[in-house]
Amino acid sequence: MARYGMVIDTRKCVGCTDCVVACKTENQVPEGLNRDWIADDLTGSFPTVHLEIRTERCNHCDNPPCVACCPTGASHVDPFGAIVLVTPEMCIGCKACLASCPYDARFVHPDGYADKCTFCIHRVKDGLDPACVSVCPTHCMTFGDLDDPNSEVNRQLASRPPHALMPAAGTEPRIFYLT
């Protein structure tokens, strides 16, 4: 069974927000809320400064705290690609998953349930890339099976040193950034 993940080349990402617009359109994300977003991360002091522009979303962690804390099983790891999902009809809206996510990737949908990135599982099942990946004009995002040694994501990971977000939180995220 596949274990889907994503590799994002931060040298290619220009922060155009096409991925954000594509996600909102594809998934009908309500106004004022976002399943993915852009982070401009500036470090250092002039003249030694470094700017990393990243597109961020749920990290579909291998050790997802949102799934562990869910009292109803609404948050779960789907057998298809080990994608972390929420079943709206099982969610009571207790917000424990929002508090448990170190990436603050979840929000409350206006209908009352916890919502977040699904890796566009409906598209992936049809053999397509997630909407954000498919529209990226710089092709900075690569989506694929991390367990397949010949997959494009693994070729990308071998090309340059990757980093994940907040490794100290211990969630084992499956989105990697090439710096």
Binding site: A68, C91, I92, K95, D104, G112
Partner: protein, 311 residues
Amino acid sequence: MRELVLTRHNELIDPLVRVWGWEIPVYLFLGGWVAGMMILVGYFLLRGRNREDTCVCSVLPGTSVVLLSLGMGALFLDLEHKLYVWRLYTTFEVTSPMSWGAWILLLVYPALAAAFALRPPGILRDLFPAVDRLSRRLDTPVGVRGIAAANLVLGISLGIYTGILLSALGARPFWNSAILGPLFLVSGLSSAAAFGHMVARHHEERELLARSDNVFLAIELFVVALFLVGLLSSSQAHVAAARLVLGGPFTASFWVLVVGAGIVIPLMIQLLAVTHRIAHTRVGPLLVMAGGLALRFVIVAVGQVSHWAKV
């Protein structure tokens, strides 16, 4: 220097997490208070005090049912998908403290009802003969011991659960301490003893509850110190979280409301009362209970602000 700018501005999440408002601290406080009262009821029943008309243990179970229902009402108000609340009881999620809590609460009610039924008010006995029959059936040495044990075990479970609910959320370093369980348990015991102190009619019982409250407050002070030492000796994120109450924006509310007005001052007042230098008053117990509520408000607020470094 580091500057992180996000295009995201999700409600309840940005710029700072505030997913839980007043409802959860109120629920945690009432839950902890009820847990403490269940433990006191268990103790008094094991000591055979239920035979005395004036025993505070005849007041605590009924009060607990009302307070716990109010707490669960607050919890219900906090839910965003209220019509689906029944989903809690269609599964048991072993890794979820909230799931454990839901099932513990389901067991707490019968245990409290049984303790209440041991000494129901006379008017209930008169109006409903079945209550009188139930009371006589339960009021046997084995029955009383069973009810005492159930209240003790479930009281401890409920008290610890209110702390574990937060400490299991590792994304918030301020909450991520196993000490929160014992802290909320001893705080609940202290609130329960303070309430018992206020409503006790028997002088000896009032003295006992005031003395035990002083012990609970002293332990609470020690546990608060352990909690902070634990955070300060952990990772950088935990140290940063501790600093939110050690010079950070929550310093005044934590030290003045929780530690000062909620623990130290009532401890001093009650020490003077039990050594007969001043009369027993309601000031100390009321401060203890207000401090217990403030503790939950401050811990819930600080925890939501604390976070791991973004990279």
